[in-house]
């Protein structure tokens, strides 16, 4: 009974957090462009009731710009981490085939991607693809799969040594049959949890790369761009342009992290004791 209650609590929390997240996301998407149009008469205002986050140097409302920017970041983060997680599971389960050279190759590949600082690699990919959305997504997707791939690889190696899998093999089941019936059910929870835990990292990297000027074009509202613009006005005392949007970003990242943690508790209660 008690166990159920606790589980229910976690479920309720998770649903609540997911709803908050979806609301923010939907708000960002639904904000029309004219709300964040520049209005020079209204520029450089401190936060007030009319503009909770104040306005920037061009008179754009920062609250709505931040929401808009977050929704862009979230979209990019979701697409990129989904691609990345798929790469991770493909790479991870290719170990299941049991070929030793393939496994060494995969390890080498992971070392390769881990060997270049992620920021540099994303920057390079973004540069190669002429900056913009495509470069950003491909860059983030191609750098974030490593740790999840390692986890899945470890899981596959462990599963492979399980007696029931050895028996299946002896019974003449094909590798593919074993993969689908015995391995995937164990791997899918890892996959989803890994996906969600990867997501905050993806958002942070997106923001960082946009901040450096390699992501979206400057007229977009991406959160990195807002913060990079704010840097120019810091010395003039426009603190709100940096503090509030950044704080919102941190909150979103913490929110998603929390959702991931809860989901892990639900899906995989034993590894989430800590």
């Amino acid at each position: 009974m008690k166990k159920l209650n606790r589980r229910k609590k976690v479920i309720i929390w998770t649903v609540f957090l997911v709803l908050v997240f979806l609301c923010l996301y939907a708000c960002g998407i639904l904000i029309p462009e004219d709300v964040i149009a520049s209005d020079f008469l209204d520029a450089k205002h401190m936060p007030s009731w009319k503009h909770p986050f104040g306005t920037d140097a061009l008179g754009r409302d920062l609250f709505f710009r931040t929401l808009k920017g977050l929704s862009i970041s979230i979209t990019i983060g979701m697409i990129a981490s989904a691609i990345s997680a798929v790469i991770a599971i493909l790479v991870g389960i290719s170990v299941a085939v049991g070929s030793k050279p393939l496994d060494s190759l995969i390890n080498w590949l992971i070392d390769l991607v881990m060997g270049i600082p992620h920021t540099i690699l994303i920057l390079l990919i973004s540069f190669a693809l002429g900056r913009g959305l495509k470069g950003l997504i491909i860059g983030i997707a191609s750098t974030h799969w490593c740790s999840l791939a390692r986890v899945i690889r470890g899981e596959v190696l462990q599963l492979r040594s399980q007696p029931y899998i050895a028996i299946s093999r002896k019974l003449g089941k094909s590798s593919r049959w074993i993969l689908v019936h015995h391995m995937l059910p164990h791997l899918l929870p890892q996959f989803f949890v890994g996906l969600i835990l990867m997501f905050p990292h993806a958002i942070l990297h997106e923001a960082a790369i946009s901040f450096l000027g390699f992501g979206l074009p400057p007229e977009q509202s991406a959160i990195g761009i807002i913060l990079s613009e704010s840097m120019r006005y810091l010395s003039t005392g426009m603190w709100w342009t940096a503090v509030l949007p950044g704080l919102t970003l941190v909150c979103i990242v913490l929110l998603v992290d929390k959702i991931g943690e809860h989901l892990r508790k639900l899906i995989d209660p034993y590894s989430a004791q800590e």
Partner: protein, 311 residues
Amino acid sequence: MEQKKDALLKIQNLSVSFRRYNHGLEQENLQVVSDLDLTVYPGEIVAIAGSSGSGKSILASAILGILPNNAKVDGNLYFKGETLTPQLQQQLRGTKIALVPQSIAFLDPLMKIGKQVDGHRRPKPVQTRKALFARFGLPQEIQYLYPFQLSGGMARRVLVSTALISDAELILADEPTPGMSLDQALEALQMFREIADQGKGVVLITHDLDLAFEFADRVAVFYAGTTVETAPASDFKKGPDALRHPYSKALWHALPQNGFHPIEGFQPYAGNLPPACLFAPRCPYATEKCRTQAPLLREVRGGEVRCYYGA
């Protein structure tokens, strides 16, 4: 019996329970030691014998005051007549009361033997250590070795040295013999006999019943976290009729040389203890009284027994 006046260690009604959180919410108390009584006099070895899970090792930790935070201790502990408070325990640990651990797993794998035997107290007892090594026939050079470089016999003597380097009056030896050959075990126990003969008290925690009564003066039989009987070791040599508690008799019968007759049933698990006499569910002589009212420890023929019918 004039020894009785100055008991080194006296334990009365000791109970230890652990608070445990079940699935994060439900708090649960696990009673692992209940109403335990034990007295140790200088110059004697008291063996505590019982199967695994009877709470033997917890007892050593309780005496030393190093139980984990979630443990709750009730009852009275006296060391040389003084109540063992946490402050006193802190003072006595490693000075007057010393523990001899089971195996080299209790030595820091990355610390050299010399430093390890010396302990943390200052000034370093280097001379004492050298004398001890000489006495145990340990080469002095091993002070520069790491634990994993020691042979089994050496490790045993090093572990005993860690206790003797202090001038401890009470030595608690926790399962010193498992995993040893008979020769090694005899050697180890002989060491404890010598220590006791020098006037120290030794508590020998073991599940090797027959080894225990060869070397000990008295044997306390443990069952489900309590002492069911304390008897002179000689009674165990005499046979089941000299023993007082049905469990002790059953243990005697379970020894290989006495026919290897197992006792039916299982030792109750902490958290699921019988209401009164802990042995009642497995006892062939149990009556209604045993199931409703816990028997107290009483003196019978120079020993103590926790049973209404033991004689």
